[in-house]
Each structure stands twice: as C-alpha cells, then as structure tokens.
C-alpha cells in the first residue's frame, strides 16, 4: 500500500449515498490494472460497546452477500483519492451530527500504523476539519491469588483510553492505537 497519501476533499471519487441518512455510501476506485472496484463506506447504527457516542466507520469492497470485506488488499491506482473519498463521506455524515464521533479500526497492527502515518502526514489538513483521537484498550489484572498465573487478566473488564492526537506524536509500531476517532471540529 502506498505511503505518500495526500488527503484533499476537493479531489475525491464521485460518492453515491446509498441511504438517506448517509450511513452507507459507495464509490468506484480505479485499481492498478485499470479496472474499477466498488468500495462501500458504512457507518454503524449502533455505538461502540464502551464509547456511547462513537460509531464505527468501515470501508472496503463488498462480498457476494453485500458485506464489507475490511481486510481486502486492493492495489488502488490513487490511494490519496480513495482515502479522501472515505473521509469526505465521514465528514459529510458528521456535519449533521456534531455530537457524534466516527471510529476507524486499523484491522491489524500494520494497517493501523499505516493509517497513523497517513494521519500524521496530513495532520495540518485534517486538523481543519476534525478533532482526532487514538484509542487503546487496557485489561484489568485480577487480584493476586492461586490462579494468578493461569490467567490474571479479566477480559470482561476492559477500559478504553483515549488520547488526543497531536502533530508529530511518535508512537512505535507495536504500541500503536487500536482505533482512530474523528469528531467534527467545532
């Protein structure tokens, strides 16, 4: 995947909303062999399990069942235009819902790191439109006891920690955020 992504909401693909509330939209991206692939952008109608105002935004090609495959690897011809289109769809949605947040999952550590690079590289541009946050999850360690070393972690007790992302913040790859959150800048 390309690293040199330059986000520009004036240079996007033609986005087609698929629902009136702008939760689902689609556009066609040109891939390296010259063909077109349909990409769908979809915002969850249910908030995040631990963050009541955060709604997940997923994107990718759809499978035969019409479901987004957010792990698909596609060689896009213009990554800048793809990511600008995805974020423009999110920005449009947020303009009617300034109290909501949109969350984008990295789906794996490598991809999360890449998204963070995109975000930092385009920080000045994105900062005009969004407040941006990174989220990590922390798991409770249970009280000491005889079973401590079997499994001291209580995975039913997970706390989200959110940091405001600032320009130039350096995070090493294996400590990367799990999730990136966007709010319309007031």
């Amino acid at each position: 995947m390309a690293i040199a992504v330059k986000l520009d909401f004036e240079n996007t693909y033609d986005i087609e909303p698929l629902t009136e509330d702008l939760r689902v939209s689609a556009f066609k991206s040109e891939v390296e062999d010259g063909s077109l692939v349909d990409l769908q952008v979809e915002i969850s109608s249910q908030p995040h399990a631990l963050l009541p105002s955060v709604f997940n935004l997923a994107f990718g090609p759809t499978n035969a069942k019409g479901e987004i495959d957010d792990r698909a690897e596609i060689a896009h011809r213009d990554y800048s235009k793809v990511f600008s289109s995805i974020l423009l769809a999110g920005l449009t949605y947020l303009t009617d819902r300034p109290d909501q947040y949109l969350g984008i999952d990295g789906s794996n550590n490598a991809r999360a790191y890449l998204y963070y690079r995109f975000l930092q590289k385009n920080f000045g541009y994105l900062d005009q439109f969004f407040e941006m946050y990174g989220l990590k999850y922390y798991v409770r360690i249970s009280r000491f006891g005889k079973n401590q070393y079997d499994n001291p972690f209580d995975f039913n007790d997970v706390v989200p920690k959110i940091d405001r992302i600032r320009k130039g913040m350096v995070i090493i790859s294996n400590l990367m955020y799990n999730y990136f959150i966007f709010k319309l800048k007031s």
Partner: protein, 56 residues
C-alpha cells in the same frame, strides 16, 4: 472549510435525500465495530496469550 468543500457536502446530502430509505443491511465489519471485539474472548485464547507472555 472552503466554499467548494461546503458545496460538495451539500451536493452529497442532496443526493442522499433523493435516495430515500433503502434499508441497506449493515455489513459484518460495521456490526463488529472496533478491534475490541477481535481481542481475547475465550479462556483458550487467554491461556494461549499467557503462554506467549511466559515464553517471550
């Protein structure tokens, strides 16, 4: 926000109004939401995680 971006947003909203309610079913990726749902869920996964920590 520039006038041209405001115009693009307004056009997108106008297109959406014309679409109406189509009842598109949410995708699995959206329903699953964040990676919170992809982390350890079962005792077996927790044990495997602990084993990997001890051997690290």
């Amino acid at each position: 926000m520039t006038k041209s971006i405001e115009k693009k947003i307004a056009e997108l909203k106008a297109k959406a109004r014309r679409v109406g309610k189509t009842g598109v079913k949410p995708s699995t990726a959206v329903r699953n939401g964040s990676s919170l749902h992809k982390i350890i869920k079962t005792q077996e996964q927790a044990n495997a995680f602990m084993k990997s920590l001890r051997s690290a």
